[in-house]
Symmetry: D2
Subunit: 278 residues, 4 copies
């Protein structure tokens, strides 16, 4: 017996669950777990974990598609490890967590490469036998640096590109180079508070009592992409921008890791500028 995940997305209608699960039943698949959601604006999302013998996947998917509206997107995902490329600058905590989780088998993914615009984290990547690419921005145009970065990313053929405190703003051209949903960023504030540069300094200046982090898919608009996961921690008057940044590292790495796990478990649908996270 094998487990696979059926992902369904289409216009909402009466009977969708019955139609899909009846076909699952016909193929003798047991439904281990199922979540569904119909949005206010009439979109239906469903994630179904199936257990059974997957012999005629094409027939199965074809039958599913026949009972759904024509705009349906249907996928059947196995449990294979996804390939992650990780982009970094100088801060080690997010990359370190990803490497450790992958090393200890707690991440359902393979880190295929790390690339940074500074060499600082090359040593860390190499300690875990992961190739590191230095793609410096110094002395070249932003466009050229991004061209080189995309080159090394694409050569590694990743399923997802994780911006693990990669402290450069991606140009619309680089964003458009990848399909929506492939680039995942961790931003060091509870968006939409403190968009842009130096959020901890902004937080200190405003005198907030909570700071946070936001993992989101990258879109053209800076820090405006669909939010996958957020969390906060408490701070007080004793924190300055530097100690906020230090304290914030734990929530950054946890939020990024939770978002990654959700994505790798096929639990995240993109719905306009939002997400459905089962």
């Amino acid at each position: 017996m094998e487990q696979k995940i059926l992902l369904t997305e289409c216009s909402d209608a009466v009977g969708l669950i019955a139609r899909v699960t009846s076909i699952c039943f016909k193929y003798n698949f047991n439904i281990v777990h199922q979540d569904q959601f119909a949005s206010e604006d009439g979109r239906f999302f469903m994630r179904t974990v199936l257990s059974g013998i997957f012999a005629n996947e094409d027939n199965f998917l074809s039958e599913i598609r026949q009972v759904l509206p024509p705009d349906a997107k249907v996928r059947l995902n196995g449990q294979q490890k996804r390939r992650l490329a990780v982009l970094v600058t100088k801060e080690a905590h997010c990359l370190g967590d990803i490497l450790m989780k992958a090393y200890s088998g707690a991440l359902n993914a393979e880190i295929v490469m790390v690339a940074g615009n500074y060499p600082d984290l090359g040593d860390l990547a190499r300690r875990f036998d992961i190739p590191f690419h230095l793609v410096s921005h110094e002395g070249i145009s932003r466009e050229e640096q991004e061209r080189r970065m995309c080159e090394v990313i694409d050569a590694a053929n990743p399923d997802y590109v994780v911006l693990a405190k990669y402290m450069r703003i991606l140009s619309p051209k680089m964003v458009a180079h990848y399909p929506l949903g492939k680039l995942i960023n961790i931003h060091h504030s509870f968006l939409p508070a403190f968009i842009g540069a130096k959020p901890y300094q902004q937080a200190f200046d405003r005198g907030v009592k909570i700071i946070g982090a936001t993992a989101h898919f990258v879109t053209d608009n800076l820090d405006e992409g669909p939010i996958i996961e957020q969390d906060v921690i408490k701070v007080n008057h004793r924190y300055d921008a530097a100690t906020m940044a230090k304290a914030g590292r734990d929530v950054e790495r946890l939020v990024l890791m939770r978002a990654l796990n959700k994505v790798l478990d096929d639990k995240v649908f993109i719905h306009g500028n939002k997400t459905v996270v089962f």
Copy 2:
């Protein structure tokens, strides 16, 4: 269009979701929301929020039962307000929250009466026009006090009896007088830590850094019934047993209220000595 909630519980089998949702589809019910769970020991639970025209409920339920295993329990609940009886002693915070939520329309229930073994909270109940019954334990046997208490409870015909800091241990006889699932208690510790009397004193003596509260259905075994909801707050060396108790009141009333809301929304199934909470 009306909304009702279909609650299904039976032995697990392949195709249960398909069978039930196909009948829903046949009756042209839209599934607004659905949760299901199959336990390790082979029990299936499903909560389905249906929207549609409920004309032939008996036929509908009969068809559902026909496609399920013989041990199936199936209910179809409307949105009517449940009747709550609240038992108290002297502490006002849980009762106060329940009265306020009911008063402001934020609780899907009607408080039909309050009963206490001390008169202290009678004034509060009456301020909200709720009948209060003093059922003192003084000068009479425990059995006799419980007999009188059951009498005033039963006269009010409640759907649930909420022990909102009712500081008396119920005898097995009184517990057995009600079906499992009807009595809901709030215990002032994160069970199974600090079972029994004076949990805050126990917590202080042990030097814990968190205290909590547990809402659970009442069974024969003291503080051992199925847990519905738990939460904690942080404390430190500056708290003594009294300040812990004071700080704990907020988590007690929140945990009890969350548990009540889950029960009133038909989101709680009892599964042996545990709960399934959708």
Copy 3:
């Protein structure tokens, strides 16, 4: 033996703690608890809980002032209950919590009156024997409504005015009518996210995974005053603006109550546009 709280604020310098505590020692006061903070920009704040016999308070304070920089502000507060005026519109949850806490003796304050621009909450106030003033905004200018509101507030002579979901923006004139620190507001977002109207609708539109509340002192700039307390709760794709608002009520009332307790315990200093909260 009595307890009083000594509040000290001045330019930072070496030896401030020694100087102040030496005088406390000379007067044979025991220091039950003490907190101090020196800000980055050179301001010193100290809260000292003293236990002893307070016979010569003027001499004591005079000696304290002599050893501090000339810009020092020194106060000695007893434990008397402060007078609270509460402003409301239609939502009951914050007012209800304040009334319940005051009723059960869990709030170190006396509610001297409630005023609303709608009559809806008059019944609730009266159930707790608190005078309610309707100061409608209908048919009169904003200036006139505020003049009347200030009149009923001032007639009650409160120490603090609590805007417990009072859904009107105060004019600079009304704000200036009270000293900074007297007006306390609860805003239904984790500021600085979602400033202004309909924060829950804004939160829904943005697709955030956390919503929150902020208690702050009121200044001229809308939602920009010194923050006293903030907290958040998690939401997901199943929440619309209305269910966010409903879920947010619990965090609103808790955040406001925590802020009030801190203020009533003399634990809050205002420091520019920020607070020091011990």
Copy 4:
């Protein structure tokens, strides 16, 4: 200008803060931060961060001692990195976090060695250039295994020994080999719930809605030592013992890391079977 931490502990008395801070003032030390606590049973604890020129430390400490009760313990700690020995079995998450934090400079300590009763984590330690000692328990007595373990620990001369999911119960003899406060353990439950073996299985069997972790100093009584830090996470009916264990790893490593940071910052006093954590 240098910073050092003055740690004072003695019987409580009037004037202790004045006496100590007056001597600090005399030596021209600025008090950057100070916390103090007087316990119910009459014990006084104070942590004072001093900034200044430390030329006559012996004289300074001698003067401090002269003004305190004879039972006073006084220490003046510099900022030097402490030496940590880490004991492990097979689970990588706590060790991995410690290694990563030390590697990135986020831990104020040096990992001097790792020792395990299984060889599994040797590879991880070596990737960070930390010596690993295998001290197997197979084929030898518990006493002999502990003798060998103490030998490798003592050879590394650590300030603290961290039991980072070292899944063996220490004998009273091994515990007594080290002073109280030197051995720090992470237990995978929110003590005192689920003392002993397999806490996640116990948690699953009981049907709790929260699981947690506890960092504590090790004493003779299993899982009964002074608690430094605790935290919890929410679980539900979908978790079995294995998924609870997986989810619990994040709270285990965070709780251990927070406890370590508190200890390394000299913020933890032991007070009987409890702690004072500033």
